[in-house]
């Protein structure tokens, strides 16, 4: 029972990070019908911004060593969000917008190209060696009825929930959100109604990339080893989470992320721990076979 709860908790903590990344995939897909494969690498960039900013803060602001503290951690997260938001914006502006009216496969291949550019450009700039994320806040162990956790896992969950709630508010509570939903519903009509579609799309990329930056910082906090190729696996799994929840569907991405995280945790804790990475792909195949629109997606029959 304790083991069950422990696995569940571990799974939810990983799943929350997947969910944050999955939101970026699903938002961009919802609006452009484009799978932005470079999204996982934006997540990696977020971690690296945190690594360098944390290293700088460690020598300049907190020369006495130890954890950096809440304010610095918040500042680092904000910086990572700004940098990743800018990268997301440039990515859309330079790589995807010129191809918006080309066949969709062109954008897809460009996305893969951008992904490689960030991965191997990252290896060139940051170096291929793994780096170790700085200590942002002091770690405490928490033991609740035989289930062990740390304040890190709680921070991950709380921060993830705050940003998901914020996103929910943006989409359903603001004028911009309404514009976003309109563009997602019907691109052409929205633009005829005077919605500045270009700006909506840019902003969507910026928001998605900022969420990836948050995920990158949270990942660095809980799993301090980072390297330029670290975005590939979480990126793919978050993509699967988005497909599982129904790509284009925002709550679906969150649920999908949590489900993938929890399933991985249980598989990792069982005799089949070798297959932990494979299980996400098995889920992808099963979803595509039996429910291509995902758990929450609407199935739309194609008119012939």
């Amino acid at each position: 029972m304790q083991e069950l709860l422990q696995n569940l908790l571990n799974g939810v903590a990983v799943g929350a990070i997947y969910a944050l990344i999955a939101l970026g995939y699903t938002m961009v897909y919802g609006i452009l019908k484009l799978i932005n494969f470079a999204h996982g690498d934006v997540f990696m960039l977020g971690s690296f911004v945190g690594f360098y900013a944390g290293g700088w803060a460690g020598t300049r602001l907190h020369a006495q060593g130890g954890a950096l503290g809440w304010w610095t951690a918040g500042g680092i997260m904000l910086l990572a969000m700004i940098v990743c938001g800018a990268v997301g914006y440039l990515n859309e502006r330079i790589a995807y917008r010129p191809l918006r009216n080309s066949p969709r496969i062109a954008s897809l291949i460009t996305a893969i190209g951008v992904s490689f550019l960030l991965e191997y450009g990252g290896q060139f700039v940051f170096g291929p060696d793994p780096k170790f994320f700085p200590l942002l806040v002091e770690k405490h162990l928490i033991n609740a009825g035989g289930v062990a956790t740390t304040n890190y896992q709680i921070i991950v969950l709380v921060v993830a929930i705050i940003f998901m709630a914020l996103l929910q508010y943006i989409i359903y509570g603001t004028k911009f959100g309404r514009a976003m939903r309109a563009v997602s519903y019907n691109f052409e009509t929205a633009s005829l109604m005077g919605i500045p579609t270009d700006r909506v799309i840019s902003t969507t990329f910026i928001i998605g990339s900022m969420l990836a930056a948050v995920a990158g910082i949270l990942f660095g906090l809980s799993y301090p080893k980072i390297d330029p190729l670290m975005g590939i696996m979480p990126g793919l799994k978050a993509f699967i989470a988005a497909v599982l929840g129904g790509i284009g569907n925002v709550p679906g991405a969150v649920v999908g992320g949590l489900i993938i995280g929890v399933i991985e945790s249980f598989v990792g804790g069982s005799r089949f721990s070798n297959f932990r990475d494979a299980i996400a792909f098995v889920i992808l195949i099963a979803i595509l076979l039996f429910r291509p629109s995902g758990l929450f997606g609407k199935y739309q029959a194609e008119k012939v």
Binding site: E3, L141, P224, K225, F266, V267
Partner: protein
């Protein structure tokens, strides 16, 4: 059109000229293994990637030995030139690197790797090209079984696993252990197997078992499952990058058992990554840096002067490997073809190295090498025990009859 062609030709040419220049150090001179010029020795190692310090330390050790040999007049009047290739800690890259060293650089011998999976990938290439290969620190028994051109400078995992099990099971009286191995690493699988074999022979019980893949960042699920079985120790024969994280996550889950491992833990980065979570954990190693033996003291002194850091065991083994090779080349006289050099290396006897006296047995493994067990205390390595194999016995036999001396 002509212009375009010219440009693309220029680009292509410059790529060929600039692309991957072989990194060579030490004295200049005409290339080639032909008589008169420098003797080219190839080295492949993990200079970058997850096992970067393995390759870097080994490289430092090899370069220091090569420079000392050259300063003392070289080998039969010729200087040694080491050509180094980085395999990025990947077995498939190791195979490419060795292929390149042999076919392009035409080296007379190849030194490397640390990770057994990489050595196992590269050994068949050396064997089929009849170029002798010496691995300084791959401990998996399979490596030297790849052929009669493949040699080793360190003890093997059967000996290491058995010695560790003897120490844990007999000296410490531990009755239950959980084993966590890396599925991607031949080293980890082999060492885990030999530890379990001996540990169960001694009446110990393996109560939990789980596996991970090198490069994972989340080990909590596996740790949760072994935590439930409540072992007295957690045996993790992995490499240092993963170990540091496993130790941290085990502590996060409230596990208080010590982690126990093998020589794959040996890295200056280990304690940096693992921090306080590694206190009280211990692992087996090839040498202890604060050993009072004059050979070790002398080596540590020189290494510190040159590189400014304390050498780890992999640096010591790299140093020994280069010197054993140079010694064999001296004995081979002017003949540095594969077969003559192989025979000269195989005849290595009573060579006094930093990691002990090296005599190669018929299985091309050194006979009777010493093993130390080090414990991490206050972020420092301390000597916990020394296992002295009985002299002049074949390596396999000493594994079971070695005597453990607790400090």
């Amino acid at each position: 059109m002509r212009n375009k062609l010219l440009i693309s030709l220029t680009v292509a040419l410059s790529l060929v000229l600039l692309g991957c220049p072989p990194k060579s150090e030490t004295a200049s001179g005409t290339a080639g293994a032909a008589a008169g010029g420098d003797i080219l020795v190839g080295e492949y190692g993990s200079l970058t990637g997850t096992e970067a310090t393995f390759g870097q330390s080994t490289h430092n050790g090899i370069m220091m030995a090569a420079d000392e040999i050259n300063a003392a007049g070289g080998v039969n009047g010729r200087k040694i030139k080491v050509i180094t290739e980085d395999d990025q800690s990947k077995a498939e890259e190791a195979a490419n690197a060795v292929q390149k060293l042999i076919s392009q650089n035409q080296v007379v011998a190849v030194l490397g790797e640390v990770a057994s999976s990489s050595s196992i990938a590269a050994a068949p290439i050396c064997q089929s090209s009849k170029v002798p290969m010496i691995t300084p620190s791959s401990t998996n028994p399979e490596v030297t079984k790849k052929g009669d051109y493949i040699f080793r400078m360190c003890f093997t995992d059967d000996y290491q696993g058995h010695s560790l099990a003897d120490y844990v099971g007999q000296t410490l009286g531990v009755k239950s252990a959980a084993i966590l191995t890396d599925v991607k690493s031949d080293y980890s699988q082999g060492l885990g197997h030999f530890f379990e074999e001996r540990f169960t022979q001694l009446g110990g019980k393996v109560v939990g078992r789980a596996s991970y893949a090198k490069g994972d960042s989340d080990f909590r699920a596996q740790l949760t499952s072994v935590k439930g079985s409540n072992p007295q120790v957690l045996f993790v024969p992995g490499y240092y990058t993963d170990i540091g994280q496993i130790a941290n996550q085990a502590k996060d889950l409230g596990m208080t058992q010590p982690l126990v491992g093998g020589d794959g833990w040996e890295s200056p980065k280990l304690i940096e990554i693992g921090g306080k979570a590694l206190e009280g954990c211990y692992y087996s190693n090839h040498y202890f840096y604060a050993d009072t033996a004059p050979a070790v003291r002398n080596f540590v002194e020189k290494y510190k002067q040159r590189y400014g850091v304390t050498p780890d065991a992999l640096a010591a083994l790299g140093y020994d490997t280069m010197r054993v090779l140079a010694d064999a080349m001296k004995r081979a006289g002017g003949k540095l073809d594969g077969t003559s050099l192989r025979d000269a290396i195989a005849a290595t006897k009573d060579f006094s190295g930093v990691t002990g006296t090296i005599t190669l047995g018929p299985d091309r493994n050194p006979i009777g090498k010493k093993l130390v067990i080090e414990e991490i205390r206050n972020a420092q390595l301390t000597l916990k025990a020394t296992v002295e194999p009985q002299a002049n016995a074949p390596a396999e036999a000493t594994a079971t009859s070695g005597t453990t001396k607790t400090q």
